[in-house]
Symmetry: C2
Subunit: 224 residues, 2 copies
DNA sequence: CGCCGGTTTGAGTCACTTCAACGACAGTGG
DNA sequence: CCACTGTCGTTGAAGTGACTCAAACCGGCG
């Protein structure tokens, strides 16, 4: 069951009783976000084509965050009961789902570290590095950089800064000749410099354990 | 296999190749934390008796964060292969593990919101509320409050603030007659007031889906 | 008693926010 | 074809919440 979502459409809303389905992104980008009681928004993760969208809710009764299309997005939907049965009966799928869910958690932890402990330069640089690594893994980055489909406001909501301050920080990074941004296209001039500012290490992405298609992972259901 | 850990002992270190075991907390508290390249520490989660300690690493090759005993702690250890087999063969256990892992993720997301979007008062108040809710669920809170086994420095590392500022903020909360702290014991005088400051809602803890013992959950492997 | 980890307090500074306005650009409709 | 509108990016000026540095205090313990 394929579906198209317009930018900014809500796919799941916090508090909602979950009964419908999980989705797999075919094209476009999605984010997951939460709001405080006073309406401040925190983007808690970003998803690109190939990602499972709400695996995080597979066994939960109520949605604890919002899921929203960031750009125009196509997704394939899988019924919850069907996916659960698949997970229970097929060890390969189960393992792949576990890895996907655990990597997702690992990324949240890194984001928490990012937002809690780094300054503005570090946070933004880290976001750019992570996105570069994930886009590269997904085959969506070129030598000249990649398309970062976010406004400065959204970047701010992802790293816990104001849009204004994101603007000034990016301006500073450009001034130091580390990056250039031409519309939505981002280019690194000094990737090592950016990595140093970010304190970036890709360990937490567990890239060695990711394959695009869960079906073609080698049999790793045999245990340790 | 039962083991005792002294306060501050590392149980798992970031970057480590994981081969040994998972642990279940019998008594005491543990934290999980990460460090930036410049040595700043972020506590990414806290665990109390009954929690599974490193389920987050069950299917991953390398540890992406540190796990450390916060107090004197006793844990029961389960071999990784044994637990994986159990998960694959027993749908009830599998479901319970999924729920545990997903709730853990949900908590990270809430922490990200907390650190990214709330001010010092809100962050600390939120931490106190969450801990109250979890301690109550674990039967470890009394009417008079609960034991919060953290120094102000650790609270700071959990919410992304300096120990000094945590001190001043707690002082302010005390001055407003919202809480009192006597050594490690914390008492709420105005729980509703604290909840309001925190913007706390326990939805994200998914308390309706938690049981202390994975074995006695009702059969919910039947799908949606 | 003297040390030590943790808490408390003060003074000065700075990174980030807030508010506000303006410019660039794309889409829309007359 | 151009005026109208809305979104996004950019910039300035002023305010403030949290940090830094540093010192003193406190209770527990060997």
């Amino acid at each position: 069951m394929q579906r198209t979502y317009q930018p900014n459409t809500y796919i799941i809303r916090e508090g909602e009783l979950l009964q419908r389905h999980c989705a797999f992104i075919i094209s476009g980008f999605a984010i997951r976000q939460k709001l405080t009681n006073v309406g401040a928004r925190q983007i808690v993760s970003m998803h690109l084509p190939g990602d499972l969208l709400d695996l995080q809710h597979l066994y939960l009764n109520y949605a604890d965050h919002n899921v929203q299309a960031l750009t125009l997005m196509e997704a394939a939907e899988i019924g919850r009961p069907a996916l659960r049965r698949l997970v229970l009966r097929n060890p390969r799928v189960a393992t792949a789902m576990w890895i996907d869910a655990l990597v997702d958690s690992s990324i949240s932890r890194e984001w928490l570290l990012n937002v809690g402990q780094r300054d503005a330069r570090g946070r933004i640089a880290h976001l750019l590095c992570e996105f570069a690594a994930r886009m590269t893994a997904a085959g969506m980055a070129s030598d000249s950089g990649y398309e970062l489909p976010m406004t400065q406001e959204q970047i701010g909501d992802a790293v816990g800064l104001t849009a204004v301050h994101v603007n000034r920080t990016i301006k500073a990074l450009k001034a130091e000749n580390l990056i250039t941004r031409d519309k939505r296209h981002l280019h690194f001039h000094d990737i090592e410099g950016i990595r140093a500012i970010a304190g970036f290490s890709s360990l937490y992405l567990h890239l060695d354990q990711i394959t695009t298609d869960p079906e073609d992972r080698p049999g790793d259901e045999r245990g340790a």
